[in-house]
Symmetry: C2
Subunit: 340 residues, 2 copies
DNA sequence: GCTCCTCGGGATAACGTTATCGCGAGGATA
DNA sequence: TATCCTCGCGATAACGTTATCCCGAGGAGC
């Protein structure tokens, strides 16, 4: 009786509640009650229905249940890459699971159109809420969705054009800590290479670095290099900073990809002659020589907070929009303590 | 007109096709035709309906559509970790997208119960198909789902207890290539440390290594160390292999986590005195000193093939079960060419 | 012994979409 | 001018579930 019947040459049709009810000799509604563990069902009915369920290999259809109840028990996460190291996403999945929510994750893949498509698709699926690591520059197209009550939380960066809950790292403090750490180790010519100022975090970190230079009375020229993260651009910035008239003795990198580009360009031999503090953790940072001193984001806390903000928004769509800033920490491992 | 009406203090209700039809003064079915771009609709109706859609910010409900049509346009992927480096998953997402399919990915998290829950949940959601990187030891509980016509493909490892399509790397050849590469560089005492033989790939790779030793007339004792991947176990295996009466001069590691444990235990200084070929790519392998020589899996090809097998299974549920073995390649970078 | 209440189960109407069918208008043909 | 298509839209029934009623049986109270 395991073979499901096929309908006219197509795929086999799964048994429904109606089939189970017929098999058990009870009403449709009673099967629903048993499936949902309604305590008002008599034990002999429970037995009969469960036997029928087992005999038919009945499996409830979540789509129908969701359509009827209105909730999906699922939240969406639109992040830049799901299949890369992404501790925030891991924390989101864990927190969601603990809250009894299913997570639906998709990669925006550094593509504005793809981000748009994914978010709209999530809206059409009527997910209970959406967490997005924004990439695009204008999210005003989501305003109708917000008006319609779609719970939305931004992670890592705020969204532009709309007002939504947001959780992100304390970029300015992190850059300040990196600068201060190198300054305390005697460095005076400290350079910064980071992401383009077109990107929010790139903008914020470059600004913080300029402010740190100013606060310590250091000149700015030739030391701050935001821009696209290509090997060529990073190499050029590095050459300007290190081989100019007044060469830098220390470097702060603004994000992981910049850090990797710098390490690859420096090569093994010269990497140990430059003091380096990197913003953001790098996989295997402890296996490099010297091991990498980093400003680490509290990624788990960020992911957890994103889910909590979303859950609060789901419960109360009218609550005031909230922004959470999570502190960063300095992890001393060697590369940041290279003397002048 | 952007504010959606609320129903008795709850969440705002999104407009439906009925609302659009009323607003446009046409029949429900006509709205459906416009939304689905049915060419048999007169242009003046299209205009009216599209105006109503824009005015109400109507967004179709995919759940209802899926319930009605039977297909979801979504495939599921149950992998061990979504938020870690996982090129197979990246390839799956890309291939699925190119085929017009949405990907729903979830982490089994090295937990047999969690794997079970995820797979059953995917069945209840009536996804069009499922790709699984199996972890558990017995998947016979999926037989009813297979009988019901759920398309299922295994990736990286076969499934036990049921017969499903499968795509995986040529483990045996890879281990053979690693051994042969070291042998050709003059090494005669070559050790192997890898995953437990409880795991399919661990079993297959350890067996292949024993076979390689035998084929070259080398003794086996003290050289083959499968087991749990804990720092302590790997360290003990390493000590046995390197400091025994007849110490090994070269090492093959059976997977990424073992490789990392070995590198961490050896430390920077001694890593360059042991010839090492690692099975599976390691992130930043090129930045290590010496850079890591690896047996690389064709991860993109594996992910792509998994989706193709699944699509073929969806189209023809009755087609014979197929197993695809993808070759591996040797990537020479330095660590495998350390002389005796 | 009759009424009232409670308790457990059944019929039926949603949820929002698509598929099937039918029907009226208009043009082509005889 | 009558008939037959064809074309384009509308009414209505599903899809598989849950929620809202209602009803019948049984026990308690007078």
């Amino acid at each position: 009786m395991t073979q499901a019947r096929r309908e006219s040459g197509g795929r086999p049709r799964r048994p429904t509640m109606v089939d189970v009810a017929r098999e058990a000799g009870v009403a449709l509604r009673t099967v629903s009650r048993v499936v949902n563990q309604d305590p008002t069902v008599g034990p002999e009915y429970v037995t009969k229905v469960e036997a029928a369920i087992a005999a038919l290999n009945y499996r409830p259809d979540d789509r129908a249940r969701q359509l009827r109840t209105g909730v999906t028990g699922t939240i969406g996460a639109a992040v830049r890459r799901i299949a890369e190291v992404n501790p925030e996403l891991a924390a989101i999945e864990r927190t969601a699971r603990d809250a009894g929510l299913t997570l639906f994750a998709a990669s925006t893949d550094f593509d504005e159109k793809r981000e748009h498509d994914i978010l709209i698709s999530m809206c059409r699926q009527r997910l209970d809420g959406i967490i997005v690591e924004p990439f695009g520059e204008n999210h005003a197209y989501l305003q109708p969705e917000l008006d319609a009550g779609v719970p939305l939380v931004a992670m890592d960066r705020p969204m532009s054009g709309i007002s939504v809950d947001c959780v992100m790292s304390d970029n300015a403090s992190g850059i300040g800590m990196a600068f201060h750490h190198l300054h305390r180790h005697g460095h005076r010519r400290i350079a910064y290479i980071g992401d383009s100022e077109r990107v929010y975090s790139g903008r914020e970190r470059a600004a913080a670095f300029r402010a740190a230079l100013g606060a310590h009375g250091e000149p700015v020229e030739g030391l701050v290099h935001p821009g696209e993260i290509t090997p060529e651009r990073v190499a050029a910035a590095l050459d300007t900073a290190l081989h100019g008239p007044n060469p830098a003795t220390a470097l702060v990198t603004g994000n992981m990809d910049t850090t990797l580009a710098v390490l690859r360009h420096l090569g093994p031999q010269s990497a140990s002659r430059l003091a380096l503090v990197a913003f953001d953790e790098v996989p295997l940072a402890d296996l490099l020589q010297p091991a990498l001193t980093v400003i680490a984001q509290q990624t788990t806390e960020i992911g957890r907070t994103a889910v909590e903000l979303l859950r609060a928004r789901i419960v109360d769509p009218a609550r005031p929009v909230q922004s959470v800033v999570v502190p960063v920490t300095l992890k001393v491992r060697g590369s940041g303590e290279v003397p002048v």
